[in-house]
């Protein structure tokens, strides 16, 4: 029984943290206070659920408890009126409860308010990512710090600074207006994608940080649920599912990196691929598909090919052309050059790489010299390939990717 209760608390934490915090924040207009009150509510659940049983609506119970805690804290401060002119003042404890129970449709709005506030353009990207992981995903500051290889104190300072700015500059706690939505949504999706990428290619000691990957996928799924009409949210969910479907095959039993060409395609997660493909076709519907939908479409083409040799490179290059139009990024151009090399040979790929090699935005980007090295190796230009592998190694930390590059370097040096 205690085990089942503990599982229920853990489950509620995973599912409800963001909703409880979001609903409490609308009530307090103070993220710090909402965060403390939410943590308090979960601590109370740990104490009381084993004794009283798991409530019928864990989320409602937690939100009511968090709001009561917040209200207590506000009363203790005794500055309720002067500090919080915007507070939706409750008449008593009952209304705290009613507000939660009658509030169902508002729940998703609360979550969106929280997400859009964390990803407000007035905050630096790294602060957006940190706040989203801390406040929306409920990761501890230590976990967020570990995910991005910075010290806990650095991460704590980053989160505190961001929260101070939200309060002092009055970054509003609201869903953007329709006119601003495309731009604001793009920032949110970018943050979720950054979380996914950080988990998917963690580097250092391990290639994948599964907890970050699953947080990102869960967040993308939530965004699709609360904004069903936003095609790019669907595209992002598709992209993360299709990419993560290969997780088990990207590393062999000895911990070595396995390239897409050599992965065991029978071990890819078929149900994730099926869901991803369905989402891709939905996200491509209509005019001018967005960058996440297009990247997902490319990932779907890889997932559909029964063997590496069956990959439809011509169509992949075509999709990269459209993607480059929607999102003129040098990283996209780099990936396109690799696809061109597959469709038309390594020399054609090198010609495409030459066009972007001097782009300052790619300075220090390890996949540029790595891609060049691979094409030179395939052309038998071993001296140039050696130099390019060395350059890529200079920007690659210890881990499976580094092992792979060292292996290739030894091959061309022979």
């Amino acid at each position: 029984m205690p085990d089942r209760t503990a599982a229920a608390v853990a489950d509620a934490y995973r599912r409800e943290w963001a909703y409880v915090l979001a609903a409490t924040a609308r009530f307090t207009h103070d993220l710090d206070l909402a965060e403390d009150a939410t943590a308090d509510a979960f601590a109370t659940a740990v104490e009381t659920w084993p004794r009283d049983g798991v409530p019928r609506s864990p989320g409602g119970w937690l939100t009511t408890t968090a709001r009561r805690r917040a209200l207590d804290a506000l009363r203790r401060r005794q500055t309720l009126r002067s500090k919080l002119p915007l507070l939706v003042e409750p008449a008593g404890a009952d209304s705290v409860e009613d507000a939660v129970l009658e509030d169902e449709p508002a729940v998703t709005d609360d979550l969106l308010r929280l997400v859009f506030t964390c990803c407000h353009p007035a905050l630096a990207r790294e602060a957006q990512v940190a706040l989203t992981l801390r406040l929306v995903c409920g990761l501890s500051t230590a976990e967020v710090a570990a995910s991005f290889l910075v010290s806990e104190s650095t991460m704590a300072a980053r989160v505190t600074r961001a929260k101070k700015k939200i309060a002092a500059a009055r970054i509003p706690y609201r869903v953007p207006l329709a006119a601003e939505l495309p731009e604001r949504l793009d920032a949110v999706l970018t943050v979720v994608h950054l979380v996914f990428t950080a988990g998917h290619t963690a580097g250092s000691d391990q290639l994948v940080r599964p907890e970050l990957v699953s947080r990102a996928i869960a967040l993308a799924r939530t965004l699709v649920e609360v904004m069903p009409d936003e095609r790019e949210a669907r595209g992002l969910l598709a992209l993360t599912l299709l990419t993560d479907a290969r997780r088990q095959t990207r590393i062999d039993s000895a911990g070595h990196l396995v390239l897409l060409a050599d992965q065991d395609r029978t071990a890819w997660d078929r149900s994730a691929i099926a869901e991803g493909r369905r989402l891709v076709s939905e996200s491509l519907r209509g005019e001018r598909p967005g960058r996440f939908a297009l990247q997902a479409a490319i990932a779907a083409l890889h997932a559909e090919a029964p063997r590496w040799a069956d990959t439809d490179w011509r169509q992949i290059v075509g999709l990269y052309d459209v993607l480059l139009g929607a999102w003129p990024s040098p990283v996209v151009a780099l990936n396109r050059a690799v696809a061109v090399a597959m469709a038309d040979g390594p020399r054609a790929g090198l010609d495409q790489l030459a066009l972007i090699e001097d782009d300052p935005r790619l300075a220090g980007y390890r996949y540029l010299p790595a891609a060049r090295a691979d094409l030179l190796r395939r052309l038998g230009r071993r001296d140039e390939a050696t130099a390019a592998y060395r350059e890529a190694l200079a920007h690659t930390d210890a881990g499976p990717e580094r092992e792979y590059l060292l292996h290739r370097l030894a091959e061309v040096e022979r």
């Binding site: 500090k83 500059a169 609201r174």
Partner: protein, 113 residues
């Protein structure tokens, strides 16, 4: 409502040797901006242009020196103090503030309770 200071940073060269028509244009643009603040639901509390940094005097401790606090290509050339509902409204207004020779910085005004 809260107060925000919109600080206008521009390259002074933009206006240093400029034709009088450039000034006339800038004056007209700022006149329009004053109206836009209200149209966007904000309120102008104050707004001034400053003489160029060649006229600035800096004091640190007791030491008086000629020149601005910091030598930068884009210098503070004017400001608006506005009232807005929140940062989103303040930013929507500040985006309309004329600053062809640079840009603007938006700072919330500290409230002491």
């Amino acid at each position: 409502m809260a107060e925000y200071l919109i600080l206008i940073y521009e390259d002074e060269q933009t206006y240093a040797d400029a034709d009088p028509s450039v000034f006339a244009e800038a004056m007209a643009a700022h006149g329009r901006f004053a109206e836009q603040i209200v149209e966007h639901g904000g309120k102008m509390v104050a707004g001034q242009a400053l003489q160029p940094t060649s006229t600035a005097t800096t004091i640190r401790g007791d030491v008086v020196t000629d020149g601005p606090f910091a030598e930068t290509k884009e210098a503070l050339g004017g400001y608006y103090l506005i009232e807005a509902e929140d940062l989103d409204q303040a930013l929507a207004i500040a985006k309309l503030c004329p600053a062809p020779g640079g840009g603007v910085e938006v700072r919330p005004v500290m409230v002491f309770e």
